[in-house]
Symmetry: C2
Subunit: 387 residues, 2 copies
């Protein structure tokens, strides 16, 4: 039987949406205690010490773990580093932080013999990273893919259902709390890129540079595009994919046109679906709320339970620097642009009422063209056609 006698004493950094959910869940447990809250605001109604000084928390030898739910890179990075150096386990929901500082944070945790967990950083409330970690016990993971962002799935799903335009749907998503005031990182794919980088690093035991990963978002999609996809009998989803190659990884984020009943095409609203493929066990998928106060807090608390049960280190401590190579992934693309240039003209397979379908092209080719094209036609939109 695991030692269930000791109460885990926690310093909670940030009492926002997720932090508040974490506080509620933790206080309901007998084996955990929020000893400190780090926040610039005061919470006189709470039973714990509230401070704006991280050192007060880190100097207390009775604090076992720090939960970081502040978000952003700074001062989260400095606080998390200091916590690891102080011998505290760190649990964070911060994908920005983990994607940007993967290698040094994992090394720092390892050097200090403490756990670093970030299950809520990918998939919100979906137990994605813990299940990926379990699979690695026995399996060679060869592929990852999925819908990893609820905001964009909500927007695309709504546009398909209602026929409404992007701006109108985005406004509604913001009203419902499904999209941030500044939705930039969600709709341009940057948020998803962080999640596929973290997932791939863990799955393949490597370190991928975020900036090496090709990304196309949905910020320029229009109701005319959606109407064209409907005529093709397809549904548009923003998909992150990665595949293990020999000495490299293919990894990219792009809108994809799926044919029902393909599993990903059925994912509604702001839900996520993330899958891995193992060499022996095939594809396994995990579905649920990719964001939100309680789902995210749930994954944070699950990390605490795992650390309390003896888990140490990161999900996968292997960290081989890895090259990104998307040249072997070949697909046809839907392209809508105001200016069909010479390169595109040569690669047109079919002309549609709205946009064109290309001949088979590599992800490398298409994304390179798109990046150039956006300089002269910022409204340009592309989506790969999936079999």
């Amino acid at each position: 039987m695991l030692d269930t006698a000791k109460v885990m004493r926690i310093g909670l950094l940030g009492m926002g949406t997720v932090g508040g959910g974490v506080y509620e869940f933790a206080q309901a447990r007998k084996d955990m205690e929020i000893a400190y809250i780090l926040d610039i605001r005061q919470f006189p109604e709470l039973q714990c010490t509230v401070t704006s000084d991280i050192d007060v928390i880190l100097r207390d030898p009775t604090v076992d773990a720090v939960i970081e739910t502040m978000g952003g890179l700074h001062p989260a990075y400095e606080y998390v580093c200091a916590a690891l150096r102080a011998g505290k386990h760190v649990i964070t929901a911060n994908k920005l932080l983990i994607a940007a500082h993967y290698r040094d944070l994992v090394q720092l945790a390892s050097e200090n013999h403490v756990a670093l967990r970030c299950s809520a950083a990918v998939g919100g409330g979906i137990p994605w990273l813990p299940n990926l970690e379990c699979a690695l016990e026995q399996e060679n993971i060869i592929r990852i893919s999925g819908i990893m962002n609820g905001t964009t799935n909500y927007i695309l799903d709504s546009m398909h259902r209602s026929g409404a335009g992007f701006a109108e749907v985005l406004k509604k998503a913001q009203e419902l709390g499904y999209a941030e005031k500044d939705p930039g990182d969600d709709i341009n794919g940057a948020d998803i890129r962080r999640k596929i980088v973290i997932s791939s690093n863990i799955a393949y035991g490597c370190v991928i540079q975020e900036s090496d990963v090709a990304v196309a978002g949905i910020e320029t999609i229009t109701d005319a595009d959606i109407a064209a996809f409907k005529r093709m009998g397809r549904i548009c989803k923003l998909i992150a994919s990665s595949r293990k190659l020999s000495g490299a990884v293919a990894v990219y984020v792009e809108p994809a046109l799926l044919e029902p009943p393909m599993h990903e095409s059925a994912i509604p609203g702001n839900f996520n679906l993330i899958s891995f493929t193992g060499e022996h066990i095939g594809k396994q998928s995990f579905y649920g709320q990719g964001a939100g106060r309680y789902p995210t807090a749930y994954n944070v608390l699950q990390d605490c339970v795992d650390v309390r049960n003896g888990l140490r280190g990161f999900y996968n401590n292997k960290m081989e620097p890895m090259r990104v190579d998307n040249s072997s992934v070949i697909r046809q693309y839907y392209v809508r642009t105001a200016q069909i240039d010479e390169w595109l003209r040569v690669h047109i397979d079919t002309i549609l009422d709205c946009g064109v379908v290309t001949t088979p092209l590599s992800v490398t080719q298409m994304h390179a063209w798109l990046q150039e094209q956006k300089k002269t036609d910022p409204g340009c939109f592309v989506a790969s056609i999936r079999e």
Copy 2:
């Protein structure tokens, strides 16, 4: 850090399809060793002791755990009981055994302070029960539902795609190894009933009698039924459902007519999709191979890893005897029968080319009628219409 020095010594009961996969996976690990195989056949090529005498294994004090992959109730039940009494952890893939002897096996494990795990018994290779167990750490689970049988999903999916008849598709499923020679327990829903009983017992901390659970299978479905569902714009899936009520559980298995893009309607071939709904975190779903050598062996080995890492007991040791009550679940049904009796006539809402649609009825009412009706019209088929 958990103790990783000690090798777990295992007695493997049964060297069939799953047992062979377990042997392969275990031999590839440094922290586990198959010390014995119990089988009536000899395997001179294997490096472990092969015996047909269970006592040889149970008397060896160096054996930590027994993996049961024989299947069937006897002698699996006697062997598992003897192993638990001998202080060995037991890992089994046997849903028949766990559903039938839930209470006494869990109690026996508890009395002997050993683990009893059966993750492969529900969902094959899907980490369903371990994730349900994790969720119980923090959540009140209020609902379970899903596609829990690959054979029937393959048959229904093929019938929808090809328009072929039941017998033809079943024959192909048997050729592909997706259906047993005697597919009775799969197609009549008995296999799924065991899985929803085990899942519900764990989720709600109760004990449900298998025989209390209403079940309707797909053994009488025809290509004409499928054509009727297509005209309705719906897809037929065999769904197990349960819901926690006050002092009772609603639990039943029946064909259900789903409207795309409902998630379950998109599940292809012999895959499974199983979901729970938590009070705070909403719906989480788990998708993958519900059967097969390696997927099933994967879950068995994961149980071994968990036991080795210190897990003891069952997924949920709470066992409150629980009444089944389906009277509050109200739905319209599709019914095709050769003899429309007085009760059905009164409850017809719409007459179709093939079959009728009823007015809203409770699951209790419909299943009671079906059981009677099958005596005079064994070819009768019903499916609930889901919103």
